[in-house]
């Protein structure tokens, strides 16, 4: 069994495929993996489906690493969400609890929902 995930981006396929490899929107984490990525037009004018398959090794990896916070599938999902956010909205969604944007590692280590001070802003790379 393999580890797979998918997301739909509300843009046409040519644009999605072009942005997938362009600096600025390229999902670096997925690009570094030995993953199979396929693009497919979504039904009913809903944009483009992106399917990522980590292959047979991915599943085992996912199970063993789930408890270390580095589940590769979770990190792939982060990357897909960030790509969707960048393509659809032009920015990565950030909140006070998650200033770097969606990150699997943040799930257990949330900041409180109150503004960051200057040193925290620098650390999060948003100063």
């Amino acid at each position: 069994m393999s580890a797979r995930t998918a997301i739909t981006v509300n843009r046409d396929r040519d644009e999605v495929q072009r942005l997938w490899s362009e600096p600025g929107t390229r999902p670096d984490h997925i690009a570094d993996l030995d993953a199979t990525v396929t693009f497919k037009e979504a039904p009913g004018d809903r944009g483009t489906e992106i399917h990522v398959d980590l292959g047979p090794g991915g599943r085992l990896d996912a199970v063993t690493k789930r408890f270390t916070g580095a589940d590769p599938l979770a990190k792939v999902k982060d990357d897909l969400r960030r790509f969707k956010q960048l393509v659809e909205t032009g920015e990565i969604s950030r909140s006070d609890s998650t200033p770097e944007g969606e990150r699997a590692e943040r799930k257990l280590g949330q900041r409180p929902a109150q503004p960051l001070d200057d040193s925290e802003l620098q650390k999060a790379g948003v100063a």
Binding site: E88, S93, S97, A113, Q114
Partner: protein, 392 residues
């Protein structure tokens, strides 16, 4: 700045915290002039919504003045007076393009957490736990507002804060509850809960042409407001007679209301003794998050083929859901966090042309520093408290 933060179950305190900054180019910073405590804030206060963290700034009903904008904000300028919808919506995704703003696919940076509990992420919400993004709320002097061209609604006349503040949540939420009921004229509508959202659901059902609007609650001051201010034609006081289903049938000639609106949510107060006790124990031990008497009664009372409109907030799981009644009576359920952006403009026009003055719900006005007292007063229904407005 000063802000009201959650610091454990049944505790909030006003603290000094850093001022918010623009983190993204589509953000604005709003200096808050008025903010309110919502009934759903009590679910957080009481500790029934998972994923709260000590230090979280509460508050999702607020308005004020734009004091800073990010580089890509085009429709707002510094000095604009705005009301801010509680759902954070990007305006670009498929859901936003279909006016399903509270289902925005991009505004929740804790999507992974939400997906675990709900199957899919839903929108970010100000000051409403980490499952809705972990955004600082508006019970504070300032707030950072993402996607500032999509949410904040400009107020360009001299209506008071109290007349327009509730466009941020409770007026559109109550209105959506009535809108779900497919009112064409002449219907009987029952509204469970005469809190602030219930009041607006009643007023909206009347505005949309319902002939009979029945308010259900256990506090006479809330029922009096429902009748005298919101326009309810009938009331059911379940502190006097707990058999709500039978009373609703009697008020509707045995038919049952054409639609029922649940404006109560997860901490329903009434219920049949044993069932209520079981729910309380399960909720206290966190093996059930949602106490469901209001919704159970709503489903049992609704006329066959009718509509069950759920705008009260639920957080997780409920036991003893009357699925048989729902299925066999062929009921339709409509629900959701309010798509405020969809309703804010038409409802603002209703306020402007005098159809409704939403300030009728306000009973308490306090400084932000008194937020802890205000939460206690509101929670325990002291001093006939219906709605608290805080001034930073």
């Amino acid at each position: 700045m000063r802000a009201n933060v959650w610091s454990g179950r049944n505790t909030v305190q006003v603290e000094n915290v850093p001022d918010p900054k623009v983190l993204n180019e589509r953000d604005a910073i709003v200096k808050i002039s008025s903010t309110a405590i919502c009934g759903s804030d009590l679910h957080l206060y009481d500790g029934y919504i998972p994923t709260m963290k000590r230090g979280d700034i509460l508050g999702h009903e607020f308005m004020g003045e734009v004091v800073e904008t990010g580089r890509r904000v085009e429709k707002l300028t510094v000095g604009d007076r705005v009301v801010v919808p509680f759902p954070i919506a990007c305006g670009n995704c498929w859901s936003c393009k279909h006016e399903l703003y509270s289902l925005c696919e991009n505004s929740n940076p804790n999507a992974g957490i939400a997906e675990k509990l709900f199957g899919h992420p839903t929108c970010g919400i100000f000051g409403y736990s980490h499952i809705t993004g972990g955004y600082a709320g508006g019970q504070a002097e300032y707030a950072r507002v993402p996607f500032a061209d999509v949410g904040p609604f400009k107020i360009e006349d001299d209506l008071t804060d109290e007349q327009v503040l509730f466009l941020s949540d409770i007026f559109p939420t109550g209105y959506m509850g009535a809108d779900f009921c497919d009112i064409k004229g002449g219907e009987s509508i029952a509204v469970f809960g005469a809190g602030p959202v219930g009041q607006f659901a009643i007023a909206s059902a009347v505005m949309l042409g319902a002939e009979q609007v029945i308010a259900i609650d256990q506090y006479d001051y809330r029922l009096a407001m429902a009748r005298n201010k919101a326009g309810a034609t009938d009331i059911v006081d379940f502190s006097k007679d707990a058999d709500i289903v039978e009373q609703l049938k009697l008020l509707t000639g045995g038919r049952g209301p054409d639609a029922v609106i649940d404006a109560v949510g997860m901490e329903a107060a009434h219920g049949h003794g044993a069932l209520h006790a079981a729910d309380r124990v399960k909720q206290a031990t966190r093996s059930e998050t949602d106490r469901g008497h209001a919704l159970r009664d709503a489903i049992l009372a609704c006329r066959p083929g009718g509509i069950v409109s759920i705008i009260g907030v639920y957080g997780g799981l409920m036991d003893k859901f009357p699925m048989g009644a729902l299925m066999n009576k062929g009921l339709t359920i409509r629900t959701g966090q309010c798509h405020v952006h969809r309703y804010i403009k038409p409802l603002y026009e209703r306020v402007r042309n005098g159809d409704i003055d939403p300030s009728f719900v306000v009973t308490h006005r306090l400084g932000l520093d008194l937020a802890p007292d205000a939460y206690e007063t509101f929670k325990h229904k002291q001093d006939e408290c219906v709605k608290v407005v805080l001034k930073p």
